[in-house]
């Protein structure tokens, strides 16, 4: 395990790897697939990510469960694009979908680890604590949005709004009516959280220290270099 005081539920594999190689993986994978438009290259990056998850001992069922909704969304985008753009669009749609898949899978790898550790890693990389914290809070904001959406959707239906029975135009109107309360609710919760944190003394200690320090072991260092190198190498192999 990294760090003496960490209390990971499951150790070993991906979970015991330092957060920095994973951050590097995320950054280099998404940069590489944005720079290249070559389908085999992106597919190669995807394979590396899937291999990382499998070799790292991630529970693939859990991973799939987490990203299921996003996978459906990517599939839907693909279909819509091909319908509207015809055969010309097929290639473009495929590239876009594969890129999105890379980002989603890289995020899934990030999730195989404690959020706190990423905060610590960002701080040790000399990012100011507030900024690092904002990044992590941003990650937390997505589930809040989803929560809020499910919640409002339920209560609207209970007041008699039958989304299933509406025609397309009315359905779109009804769904757009969801946006405002969802955003308003999520923003309010974020705002209240920030006030509560300030009141409880967040930022009171500028030179905040941490009991735990993350230390990179040999494998971690190798992995941090390995990922960007392999993604570039794949580019040289496929792009000619």
């Amino acid at each position: 395990m990294t760090g003496g005081a960490s209390n990971h539920v499951k150790s070993g594999g991906l979970r015991s790897i330092d957060p920095r190689p994973k951050l590097m993986l995320m950054v280099s994978a998404s940069t590489a697939c944005m720079l290249t438009g070559n389908i085999p290259h992106i597919a190669g990056i995807l394979c590396v990510l899937i291999l990382t998850l499998v070799v790292g001992g991630a529970d693939m069922l859990v991973v799939l469960g987490r990203i299921r909704a996003l996978l459906l969304l990517i599939a839907a985008l693909f279909v819509i694009q091909t319908i509207f753009a015809g055969m010309d669009g097929l290639l473009l749609a495929a590239v876009l979908s594969l890129r999105l898949l890379v980002v989603v899978l890289a995020a899934a790898i990030l999730l195989e680890g404690e959020i706190r550790d990423y905060l610590l890693a960002l701080v040790q990389m000399k990012l100011p604590y507030e900024l690092a914290f904002a990044v992590i809070v941003g990650l937390h904001f997505l589930p809040i949005l989803r929560d809020e959406a499910v919640n409002i959707y339920c209560y609207m239906q209970l007041r008699g709004k039958d989304f299933k029975k509406l025609g397309i135009a009315k359905k779109l109107r009804a769904y757009s009516g969801l946006c405002l309360p969802i955003l308003a609710g999520a923003l309010r919760r974020a705002y209240e959280t920030s006030i509560a944190m300030d009141l409880r003394g967040f930022r009171a200690m500028p030179g905040r220290t941490s009991m735990r320090r993350l230390s990179m072991r040999g494998t971690d260092v190798i992995l941090t270099i390995f990922y960007p190198v392999i993604f570039i190498a794949l580019g040289f192999i496929f792009v000619r």
Partner: protein, 226 residues
């Protein structure tokens, strides 16, 4: 005619949104059975975390039971859409500001009434009546998020009651109400039970309120049989 729950069991552990899988199932509601009759106010009481809110969500189908079922006048609710259930069973949930979604108090009142496809005269009449009863007329054009907690609570109650559901489920409806408003709510609920034959289920730990207005009390223990 009654809203009946039989051997209702529910655990949040099966909820796919839970991140950690190392969570031995704890039953938030365990093998709970009860009958809530029309025309009566039934209070369900119990300590924090005993599963009152969970039960209220099971009663309207927001959560699906692991075992057992909810029967509305003898018919199992499973498989019915929330929009259908909501027209017969009104839910006033515990957190007022999470159930408001319109841009004005007036729209909030009209939302459910329009979904019931009432004519506009009836909509106006009901809206005026309940805004007045809950002392909210002067806020008609206010953005609901700007109301105080007690005002939000009254607005949710008013919006749900205006739909005149056959059953009314209220989760801690008095938590933010002052004494006068509590009495007003109590009197209204009594009136609904006797005049409109509404079945009221009142989740609460406000003992003086339930003692005063409820016809019967069901006690809930932590994850236990009722």
């Amino acid at each position: 005619m009654a809203l009946e729950v039989k051997n209702l069991t529910f655990s949040y552990a099966r909820n796919p949104s839970r991140k950690r899988r190392d969570f031995s199932p704890v039953f938030a509601v365990n093998d709970f059975s009860a009958v809530f009759e029309r025309g009566k106010i039934t209070a369900v009481m119990g300590p924090n975390g005993c599963g009152k809110t969970t039960l209220s969500k099971l009663l309207v189908g927001i959560l699906k039971p692991l075992r057992g079922g909810v029967f509305l006048d003898g018919e199992n609710l499973s498989g019915r859409r929330l929009a259908e259930i909501g027209k017969q069973i009104g839910l006033v949930a515990q957190q007022p500001d999470r159930q408001l979604f319109c841009t004005s108090v007036s729209d909030e009142m009209e939302f459910g009434l329009k979904c019931l496809e009432l004519d506009s005269a009836e909509i106006e009449a009901r809206k005026a009546r309940y805004l007045e009863y809950f002392d909210l007329e002067r806020y008609a054009e206010t953005f609901p998020f700007e109301l105080s907690t007690g005002e939000k609570q009254r607005l949710v109650i008013a919006a749900v009651i205006a739909m005149k559901p056959a059953y009314l489920i209220l989760d801690e409806p008095t938590s933010a109400l002052d004494r006068g408003r509590k009495a007003a709510l109590g009197a209204l609920l009594r009136g609904l039970a006797s005049d409109e034959h509404t079945g009221v289920v009142l989740f609460s730990h406000d003992e003086s309120f339930t003692a005063r207005y409820a016809d019967g009390v069901i006690k809930m223990e932590e994850g236990q049989t009722g």
